[in-house]
Symmetry: C2
Subunit: 382 residues, 2 copies
């Protein structure tokens, strides 16, 4: 089987991640922050180590500002719903994922104003329009770090500067960016950076989180309250980090597995992996660009994208092609809208969506050659 | 090491759970409900199987009413915050965990009225008071199925009848009850039953959920919105189950592991495991009751509790004892308030809390004999 749906979740997971999870499931009982037994302390220490790894990797000076959540979607909702009130103005790009759009469309019904900044047909945000809108004031700017449809990377540092200059809070949906490109949360004035553990960090599902700036952390209402293992005598949620935003039993085993994923990433070199994925993207473009029926979406310059390539085929049904690729050739790509109708409207691929190929460290040129040949065979047969 | 903190998280996990997680991490890429590849379909099918297992075990006629969440705390918050509005009246017991109390204390500040129903010193709710309060009307009754401090099991079926008779919605915090005693959600008129995967179900952390009645499911606003893999063309959250309440990538591997935990539970017999834990509790009571300095809290009749025993020691510091037990004797129990200040106030163990021993299928009489002897040795040395 050839797996080309790494933008959904990376596969395979590094052996080290699997072994770490296996070891902890087998050998350590307890929960982080619960109790003072040797095991509980060891688990708490290991979870803290992962906080530190995430903080270092994402350019954050205080690991306690790293909040672990179920997934990036939870992290984004926590920020949007814990912050925004009727009358607030929110600026967002026209490439956003439904993880941002759906909660905002709901908040819009309650009186939150949404201002969409157009992106061009390659998915790149228009900074001039953004700057003009920001000057008119807003509570929050929210931008997808990299598109899950086209891989297009947004100029986050520049958007951060615009937010900062206009005293607007800045949320980045970093689900596709984290682990691929260097991110400097503090230097780029990012107030909330949502990440997932099971994509570019090569960890397990059920992990992810958000990094908060101190100012946002104090403004934000927690979405979930409950047992934190701290201030157990209190019937009110603690106000310190990370406990304010982490209630109930954390997925300690998963988080420790995520730590092993980050180790894998750093040992192999984030830059090296990104270069490898970009090389694969270029190679795939090269293999497909002579096919006249294939229409690629987004930027062709892989230096400005993550390891994702989206395309469709003239007069062909996407799900028929992806089904044949899967059932006949054993190749898993992803067809459709990828939970991002807005992005497809921007890129010109709505309502049918695209065939999306997305890569990881583990993919090879040989796999993509086989994929290209298989696809061409399908197209020739019509 | 002897592990007696199973009310926090069960340990060890069954070999089958570890192997299942290991297998899925290694052999299946993809996410439930995302894409149509063979693997994605296999994962979706397996996650659906776990929904079915949970539904069958908890007496629910439709697996789609089983919503998977990060943990029970998330599930409880989702119900409380998605339902309650200023002016609503909520009836709760005086044994509730902070997973219920903290969000409700916050909602109280916004105009939700809280009515606490006293429980006696053994932790049992006063049904007459509850009935009287219910007659005065309320939006919701919320009760802890079994206490995480004393193990006291509440008369859930009777409370369900009171809720139903008075047309009040009924939420059960089933974190300690699920997997221990038979639960009949539909027959008992429970509108929301929150459960966790990593306690009595013997699954991994990062799993849990809530079972909703159809009427509550349609009333309830989702706390989290985003990608669901369904209705991808829509910028609004879908309204059908389970997607309305499940956004972002689910912890598929964890959920499939939870399924293996439920299989373990059913293969060994839920009744058999409960009887075993009750036998251990009786045995421990027998071993400790002659120690005059030991004061046990809650019901002594183990037929009316889960496998939890809480006590303190006259004039002795709890954390000193639990530390010696851990460091010198290799025994992990839990000392303190267990995120339940209200329950300790009810039981008479506030503010110092208790030493809590909690059992699973894997504990033995020999372990408890060693624990009792070790504790007595510590007490004799003073």
């Amino acid at each position: 089987m050839i797996y080309l749906d790494n933008a959904a979740t990376t596969y395979p997971k590094p052996e080290k991640v699997i072994e770490t999870i296996n070891f902890h499931l087998r050998n350590l009982g307890g929960s982080t922050g619960r109790g003072q037994s040797q095991w509980a302390i060891e688990i708490s220490r290991k979870v803290y180590d992962v906080r530190t790894k995430v903080a270092q990797l994402l350019g954050v000076n205080d690991p306690l500002r790293v909040i672990f959540t179920y997934n990036a979607t939870y992290a984004i909702n926590m920020v949007l719903k814990g912050l925004l009130k009727p009358g607030d103005r929110v600026i967002l790009s026209s490439m956003e994922h439904n993880a941002v759009v759906r909660p905002l469309r709901n908040l819009e019904k309650r009186g939150v104003e949404l201002v969409f900044i157009p992106c061009n047909a390659e998915g790149v945000i228009n900074l001039d329009t953004l700057r003009n809108q920001a000057r008119q004031g807003a509570k929050l700017i929210t931008v997808l770090g990299a598109s899950n449809v086209s891989g297009t990377i947004q100029p986050i540092a520049e958007i951060g500067k615009i937010s900062y200059d206009n005293d607007i809070l800045f949320l980045v949906d970093g689900a596709q960016l984290a682990g691929f490109e260097p991110v400097e949360i503090d230097n780029w004035h990012i107030d909330a950076f949502a990440f997932t553990g099971h994509k570019g960090f090569y960890g397990p599902q059920g992990t992810g989180g958000v990094v908060l700036s101190s100012r946002l952390a104090s403004l934000l209402e927690p979405l979930i309250e409950g047992g934190t293992g701290s201030k157990s005598e209190e019937e009110y949620q603690p106000v310190f980090l990370p406990d304010k935003f982490e209630s109930g039993t954390l997925n300690s085993t998963g988080i420790i597995g995520l730590g092993a994923g980050i180790d894998f990433l750093l040992e192999n070199g984030m830059d090296t992996i990104a270069s490898h994925e970009r090389m694969l993207r270029d190679y795939l473009i090269e293999n497909l660009e002579m096919e006249k029926s294939i229409n690629m979406f987004g930027l062709l310059d892989s230096q400005k994208t993550t390891g994702i390539l989206s395309f469709n085929v003239k007069n062909q049904d996407i799900s028929t092609i992806t089904n044949i690729l899967d059932r006949v050739y054993g190749i898993m790509v992803r067809g459709g809208l990828h939970c991002s109708p807005l992005a497809h409207k921007t890129l010109g691929s709505f309502p049918y969506g695209t065939i999306r190929c997305s890569f990881s460290h583990f993919n090879t040129q040989d796999e993509l050659l086989y994929f290209s040949q298989s696809l061409k065979e399908i197209l020739r047969r019509g």
